[in-house]
């Protein structure tokens, strides 16, 4: 208590020292707290379901499917039913399927994201509706599944929180559904975050209906489109369950070789699944803030060392009065821990502001973002970090300061420095510089990646294009010709609107996040049994290439004559032409798509430029475009190119035109094409922006560190400067002396930092685009910039040294 009181008094006594140290620590601790609040929400905090650690996703695996880029595959209805019946490791198993449905019969039709789920999903998750009931056994059978549960948010938004909603009939996809329950606020499982894109989950589920598969699907083991989730029995570990599922998979492979040969089963904990893909980014960012904290610690340790020198006489007196060395160390450590706690307190404030900012710039597909908050767990983390920080930066100065020669110090007063101090201080600066340089190089690599990405030509022109999605209900659009007629009519009407240059529809637009991969066979080249020959298929309306400005390389684009009754045609992209028709003119060649209902050979009539469909960074794979009129898709994305700069201004007119064709069809996912491009690079932008900010803070702290050490050194060496001047040293000699002192530690730090970066940036490989982790440009330019800034940081105290008045310096002797 005495130590604490004295420590408090000491900190109050030197307010500027305390302020500088607390701010440096608050920056370090605040950055760590903010980042930890994100890591805690995404990776550490249990999912918001009771005993969520028992929940696992049950995937299937197949080497051929892995080759197509999908290491985890959904399962088929018969396999799911067999697992449910035979797996002993699970208390319960549920199937989930993405469901996008049109709500009509209300003031404004709306597309809702949701899921069709086994009746037991809610009891498996151990969640209950706040109003009404969950699904009951048997409701996931055909004919009994016209019931629906709403999310709290949907209930509030569309029905004003009306409690009489239970029992009311809603029209979803032109079918009547009875509302049986409303879930609690915030419940939105399943969402697309962390889930593979092909699961077609929306950003948050708002409506749930029982999953009652058709008779055809009940028998088809080859149709993989279900996500399955299980709750492990309390006594069963994930490993044991995995072993059991391996046995089951082997048994099914023998039992159903046609469909299940080479299909394995992979369990993934739901927690891990929800965080999928974000671990690497978050680890790098957490390491970055860790570095900032270390740099802040080194800075404060340096301040404490300097302060320790000024307090040598006080410490000597304490020793003379009988204090043991340990007692002195304890006193000094109490001061540093108190300092760190003050830093932690201010750090929490920084973290609250920082995490708001962080959430504002975070890409929307980062999972569980809504759960990010500064809670008790995060505060406990901050407290621990503060205590450890206090010990970390306090222990070396405390030991150093307590090791003094008693009689000399009592005689000398506050004068003089020791070589040990200087070595420790310089060592701290070297490590600060090394850490900051590593961060700067990491940020440099990400900036370079982002710049490379920004230079990527997507293969289409995203400017002035409005896009939206229309999903037609089965009734009355199950008939392909009706769906085709709907989209034909919509596109024609939109094209005629003032301010519209052209309009088109495609089942998947570039960068919209969808994929449709399937096999094909070229005429005259029978498929070899073990060779996977796939391409991405797109169904488009005639003006698709004109609207997106995808250049035609050869042949022709589609036109109004490419109708259902006309000869089947296709257009391919350059990659497809290069891969499958090398040295041959692909125009006139024919192929057969394995997924088409009508197994006919289509003639290639044109070749268009490559388009980055999945993301800007992924190299385009082979693509095949088919005329929509020859297929009749129920869900299409519409692209409208405006004549003016602001495509979003067309939205109201477009809505009116669509309502004229069918008032029960809502628009969904309304975005401009440039927004789609921006959201495809959002994760890159996020990591780059954060790491750049962290590197900036690190650079600032390291520069302050260099400045501080030199400024202190100038103060300590005033007498020496005076002597040197009296011996003939000119201003530039003194300037040089201190600049070289600053630059020596900087250069040493840079060399060590370069070595560290060389080793550490390799783990960032997956975060980089078109840039090597040891990119020479970054590895050369960053140290140069750093050295220039360090030179500036050294210049200020060096100039002060050069301005020392030798008379005063020598007289103060």
């Amino acid at each position: 208590m005495h130590d604490l009181r004295f420590a408090f008094r000491q900190l109050i006594k030197s307010p500027s020292f305390t302020a500088i140290a607390v701010i440096a620590l608050a920056l370090g601790i605040g950055a760590n707290t903010a980042m930890f609040s994100v890591v805690n929400a995404i990776l550490l905090r249990p999912l918001p379901f009771p005993q969520s650690d028992r929940l696992t996703v049950i995937w299937q695996t197949n080497p051929e499917v892995t080759k197509m880029g999908f290491p985890l595959a959904p399962t088929s209805v018969p396999d799911f039913k067999d697992w449910r019946a035979q797996a002993k490791s699970f208390e319960a198993v549920s199937a989930i399927e993405g469901w996008s449905t049109n709500l009509t019969g209300v003031a404004e039709a709306e597309r809702l994201d949701g899921a069709r789920v086994s009746a037991n999903l809610f009891s498996l998750l151990r969640v209950q509706p706040i109003l009404g009931r969950a699904f009951v056994a048997g409701e996931d059978e055909r004919g009994r599944n016209q019931v629906v549960i709403l999310s709290y948010e949907l209930w509030q938004r569309r029905f004003g929180g009306d409690r009489s909603i239970i029992g009311r009939k809603l029209t979803l996809d032109q079918e009547p559904y009875t509302v049986v329950g409303v879930m609690a606020r915030g419940f939105d499982f399943p969402s697309d975050t962390g889930m593979p894109a092909y699961m077609t989950f929306g950003p948050r589920a708002e409506v749930w209906a029982p999953f009652a598969p058709s008779e055809g699907r009940e028998k088809n083991r080859g149709a993989h489109n279900l996500a399955v989730i299980g709750r492990l029995k309390p006594s069963v570990s994930l490993t044991t369950a995995q072993a059991e599922m391996n046995t089951l998979a082997a048994r099914f492979a023998q039992q159903y070789p046609d469909s299940n040969k080479d299909w394995g089963i992979q369990l993934v904990s739901l927690q891990k699944q929800a965080a999928a893909g974000s671990e690497r980014t978050l680890s790098v960012l957490m390491a970055a803030v860790g570095c900032i904290l270390l740099i802040a610690c080194a800075n404060v340790a340096n301040l404490l060392l300097a302060r320790g020198l000024g307090r040598q006489k006080e410490i000597a007196i304490r020793r003379a009065l009988g204090a043991s060395r340990m007692r002195i160390v304890r006193q000094l450590l109490t001061e540093s821990v108190l300092l760190a706690l003050a830093g932690g307190l201010l750090g929490i404030l920084f973290a609250v502001l920082g995490s708001d900012l962080l959430l504002a710039i975070a890409p929307k597909n980062l999972p569980r973002l809504s759960e990010v908050r500064i809670d008790a767990g995060v505060l406990l983390f901050t407290l621990l970090v503060s205590l450890v920080t206090g010990l970390l930066f306090g222990v070396a100065p405390a030991l150093q300061s307590s090791r003094i020669g008693l009689s000399e110090k009592l005689k000398e007063g506050n004068r003089g420095s020791t070589a040990g101090h200087a070595r420790l201080r310089n060592g701290l600066i070297v490590s600060e510089v090394a850490l900051a340089l590593m961060l700067l190089i990491a940020a440099g690599l990400l900036i370079e990646s982002f710049a490379q990405l920004a230079r990527v030509r997507p293969g289409f022109n995203p400017e002035s294009v409005l896009t939206f999605n229309i999903a037609l209900p089965d009734n009355p659009y199950r008939d392909e010709s009706k769906a085709a007629a709907f989209f034909d009519s919509v596109v024609r009407r939109i094209e005629n609107l003032p301010g519209v240059k052209s309009a088109a529809a495609g089942n998947i637009l570039p960068l919209s996040g969808g994929e449709e991969v399937d096999g094909f066979e070229i005429e005259g080249r029978p498929l070899k049994p073990d060779v996977l020959q796939t391409a991405n298929f797109r169904w488009v309306t005639p003006d698709y290439f004109k609207t997106l400005q995808i250049p035609l390389q050869r042949g022709r684009t589609f036109n109004e004559h490419d109708r259902k009754d006309a000869p089947e045609v296709a257009i391919i992209d350059e990659t497809m032409a290069r891969l499958y028709f090398p040295g041959v003119n692909p125009i006139g060649q024919r192929f057969k798509a394995t997924n088409e209902k009508k197994s006919v050979f289509r003639e290639i009539v044109g070749v268009v430029g490559d388009v980055r469909h999945t993301s800007l960074e992924a190299k385009p794979g082979p693509h095949i475009y088919l005329p929509e009129a020859q297929a009749g898709q129920q869900s299409m994305m519409v692209a409208v190119r405006s004549a003016g700069a602001e495509p979003a201004a067309l939205l109201q007119m477009v809505r009116r035109e669509i309502a004229t064709v069918d008032p029960n069809v809502p628009l969904a996912d309304i975005r401009t094409m440039q927004e789609m491009v921006a959201s495809s690079v959002a994760p890159w932008r996020f990591t780059m922006a954060l790491l750049s900010v962290f590197a900036g803070v690190a650079l600032l702290l390291a520069s302050l560190g260099i400045y501080g050490v030199l400024a202190y050194s100038v103060n300590q060496r005033r007498r020496e400067i005076g002597i040197r001047m009296s011996l003939g040293a000119q201003r530039r000699d003194v300037l040089q002396l201190f600049l070289s002192q600053g630059m020596t530690v900087t250069l040493l730090g840079i060399v060590i930092g370069l070595g560290g970066a060389w080793a550490a940036t390799r783990i960032m490989r997956s975060l980089l685009y078109s840039v090597s982790p040891t990119d020479p440009l970054v590895f050369l330019s960053v140290p140069l910039v750093f050295a220039a800034i360090a030179l500036l940081a050294s210049l200020l105290p060096a100039r002060k040294a050069a301005a020392v008045n030798p008379v005063i310096a020598l007289r103060n002797e």
């Binding site: 011996l727 003939g728 008379v807």
Partner: protein, 226 residues
Amino acid sequence: MKLDPLIKLSHVERSYPLGKQQFFYVLRDINLEVEEGDFVSVMGPSGAGKSTLLHLLGMHDFGWTGEYYLDETAVHRLKPKERTQLRNEQIGFVFQNYNLLDDLTVYENLDIPLSYRRYSKSERTALVADTLDRFSIVAKKDLYPRQLSGGQQQLVSIARAIIAKPKLILADEPTGNLHSSQAEEIMKLFQRLNSEGTTIIQVTHSETNAAYGNRTIQLRDGWILK
């Protein structure tokens, strides 16, 4: 024909501002001539302005008024850089507490004034070797100041002061930290240097030390006593 004095001060004053229109005068209307080859002792009580006068003569201090000629150069008209250059050419310093650089060896301490005067490496080596020999401290060249006695440190300090062959040595209480036998040796050394042609101005409290010189100036409250 009488030659111009080595040093000529006319109406030199040094003051520090105390407040609005108020000044504290440390040196007042100093008129002083020092001939080449003089050995002058400046005496007076503490606060009389002795050290201020020495630093002024050594061109460490620029905040004075009046006229100062050194070897016929009008110091009061020189720019700071030119004063530094003139000081480097003409003046060597000896301090009471030796002011050797703690982290440099005896050899390096002797070398440093030469390096500031941009002597070439070979010249420096020759001069340092010569000086070490002249002061009989060759055996000590690799020692650090803390490994030397007070007398030895002052010996090195004097060697350092004369190594660049200055015309004038300014010594501030050169024997203040030494016991009497060491002090006597140092004063004899000054006497020898003076006899070899070096002009010396020393600040001292000791009549005995002052007796080694050929002239004494008494300072009181910033004034030279006539």
